[in-house]
């Protein structure tokens, strides 16, 4: 309410009136820990941290199909932007593919494949956005989620990522599977979101290799 707004701002200004105000601190370049081990590239460092966070790294389309076929039964949702490259290997593995998430019958689909906008090496985090995720429900409601990542989009740390967040109404950092320790502190994966979080790096090429 308009009155509430005026009341709150008047209260805040009154509280701060005449008080010394703390200056803005300078921020460290890379505040948190987990810098890549010596000799590891940003992409390799990301995969190390991603595995440590409980993620599964896949090699290529055919191995994705074979691996998914072992994970569950039913259809696989594939984001329309990347479907053309993946339909063939998925169908070769006997998996029906859909590009429209069946909201009315979500359990028909056990896995979703969507593009990642970026990744963070420090924490093993995948960055998903509305801009590149056609249906955010598919990426959270399935048991298995596979994020397709361009290795060129790996950022070194949280600070670098937060300094350049995409202009998007919804950005989510996903670090490993959905999990809880609410029951007696015991870690269980797959509460509401995926119990299995995977990453398919696109055409991996070692850094510095220009061939």
């Amino acid at each position: 309410m308009a009155d509430d707004r005026a009341t709150i701002f008047a209260g805040v200004r009154h509280a701060l009136d005449g008080r010394a105000r703390a200056p803005r601190p300078s921020l460290p370049e890379q505040p948190a820990t987990g810098r890549p081990a010596p000799g590891r590239t940003g992409g390799e460092a990301f995969l190390d941290s991603f595995r440590k966070a409980g993620g599964v790294v896949l090699d290529d389309g055919p191995s994705l199909g074979r691996w998914l076929a072992e994970q569950g039964e039913g259809a696989v949702y594939c984001d329309p932007a990347i479907a053309s490259a993946l339909v063939k290997p998925l169908e070769a593995a006997g998996l029906p593919v859909c590009t429209l998430f069946p909201r009315d019958d979500p359990d028909r689909v056990f896995a979703a494949i969507t593009p990642a906008t970026a990744a963070i090496a420090e924490t093993g985090t995948l960055v998903l956005t509305d801009g590149e995720t056609r249906d955010r429900l598919a990426a959270v409601a399935t048991w298995v989620h596979v994020a397709v990542l361009d290795p060129g989009d790996v950022l070194p740390g949280l600070a670098a990522s937060l300094a350049a967040l995409p202009d998007d109404p919804n950005v989510v950092y996903v670090t490993g599977p959905s999990q809880t320790a609410d029951v007696e502190g015991i870690l269980i994966r797959g509460v509401h979101g995926p119990g299995v979080q995977a990453c398919l790096p696109l055409a991996w090429r070692p850094e510095g290799d220009e061939s």
Partner: protein, 470 residues
């Protein structure tokens, strides 16, 4: 009824050994995980606490500017921004938004502000189906219980009790296996998420620069809620605002480590408006309600540092009183040291202050809470300020059952007498002190175990070391 007369003591005295042990073990394990996570970072993480404190203090000291900036940024992103000065106003505004959208069913992720204003109870009474989507909060809701920890709401519950709760509410046969319990909650809540007309959350931080609300979860319940429902409302305390997105890198690095010992939570979500065109999931309408509820008053008080709090729960995990008494003993929304400071301040009237100021006496002032706080809130000092205030205002109710300190003060103010008492104490078994104590001290000691009295051993060691650290 407690023999000592302090309400927190009374509660602790009636606590079953099972609950006491469950809370103590859970809090100690989380504290150990926090310590490991912080130690892995070495000095850089320890130094980061100073930066985090400065980020929060700067934002609070310029809250007039940053709150207005956050409002403008959110509005630019298509969010509808509301302000609520009081709990009643916040409830009324949320209710109106829901009614105008014809919402009958909603899912809610964890929000301390929602707890403060009694939002779920209010909406339920008004006929809206409100489903708590955090696993712990769901158990508490089904049981008609209350959360006993701000991060781990069911830290006081054992798996067999949760299994009984699920059985009693139609979530399957009795099965206390934590994995089975989690799968049942998943199946139950999926239906609720997909049927919900709205989702409600709080926010851990708000960036003034971009308007982004940060919501962290491990379960992904907010992600699911805000993917499936067409309307989202975030209810946020005005003190959650920080200046820039970049500030969040420092705060997020400390939040998860302090709360659960993780480097980052599984889901860290940045939300600032409705879904973009061409997307079928995500809220088409996005509302933010900024709630004051006494915060602007606290900002002008000598307890203002408490507003730096990032709700990690580290202070309660480290607190020996919390571990022995459980969160419910504090009788409010915020337990532990942060609750003992904040609860009296959130009370809107002097009577409420008097009623809750006694919490400040339920502390040993051991300093553990201040040592672990990621934003360096001087919690022990703030507790002492409540005691000073209670004494100055002659709040007898707050001081009920607390032994006077006149004799202690008399001894402590005379160095010679202090040394004599110290040396005597070394020859006096603690059990004798407990046996021969009289009056309020006797009642107070009835529920406490004195440490072994060492007769000034520390002073002798200090003299021997020349006052230098080991």
């Amino acid at each position: 009824m407690s023999r000592s007369g302090q309400p927190l003591d009374a509660f602790a005295a009636g606590l079953s050994e099972d609950v006491r042990a469950t809370v103590a073990d859970g809090a100690a394990a989380t504290d150990a995980a926090r310590r490991r996570a912080m130690e892995t970072g070495g000095d850089s993480l320890a130094d980061l606490r100073d930066t985090a404190a400065a980020i929060r203090q700067h934002a609070l000291d310029h809250l007039d500017t940053y709150l207005a900036q956050a409002e403008a940024s959110l509005t630019r992103s298509g969010a509808r921004v509301h302000f609520a000065a009081t709990a009643a106003s916040a409830r009324e505004q949320v209710t109106r938004i829901l009614q105008e959208a014809g919402v009958r069913r909603l899912v809610k992720s964890k929000s301390m502000v929602a707890e403060e204003i009694g939002l779920a109870e209010h909406l339920t009474a008004a006929g809206t189906e409100v489903v708590e989507s955090d696993l712990g909060e769901l158990v508490v809701q089904l049981d008609g219980d209350r959360p006993s920890h701000i991060v781990k709401p069911i830290i006081h519950r054992r798996r067999d009790e949760i299994a009984s709760t699920f059985r009693d509410h139609g979530l399957g046969d009795y099965d206390p296996d934590p994995e089975s319990l989690t799968r049942r909650a998943r199946a139950h809540l999926r239906r609720k998420f997909l049927a919900a007309d709205a989702s409600i959350s709080g926010a851990n931080f708000v960036s003034a620069e971009s308007g982004r609300l940060v919501v962290v979860t491990n379960e992904g319940n907010n992600r699911f809620g805000a993917a499936a429902a067409p309307l989202h409302i975030a209810v946020v305390g005005i003190e959650k605002v920080v200046a820039t997105d970049r500030d969040l890198s420092v705060l997020l690095a400390l939040l998860a480590r302090s709360a659960t010992g993780q480097a980052i939570t599984a889901y860290t979500e940045f939300m600032r408006g409705p879904r973009p065109p061409g997307r079928s999931s995500g809220p088409a309408a996005f509302h933010v309600v900024f709630y004051d509820g006494g915060r602007s008053r606290i900002l002008g008080s000598e307890w203002r540092e408490i507003l730096r709090c990032i709700r990690c729960g580290a202070c309660m995990n480290a607190c020996p009183v919390y571990r022995e008494a459980s969160g419910h003993a504090y009788g409010g929304v915020y337990p532990g040291p942060v609750g003992a400071v904040l609860e009296p301040l959130l009370a809107a009237d002097p009577d409420g202050y008097a009623e809750r100021a006694g919490l400040a006496y339920a502390s040993t002032l051991c300093g553990a809470c201040g040592d672990v706080c990621p934003v360096k809130i001087p919690l022990p000092d703030l507790l002492v300020r409540h005691r000073v205030e209670a004494t100055a205002r002659h709040l007898d109710r707050a001081r009920a059952g607390v032994p006077g300190t006149a004799a202690f003060s008399a001894v402590a103010a005379r160095p010679g007498l202090w040394r004599l008492m110290l040396s005597l104490s070394g020859r006096l078994p603690a059990a004798w002190v407990e046996r021969f104590a009289v009056g309020p001290l006797r009642r107070w000691l009835a529920q406490r175990t004195l440490p072994r009295l060492r007769g000034g051993a520390f002073r002798r060691w200090l003299r021997g070391s020349g006052g230098k650290d080991g």
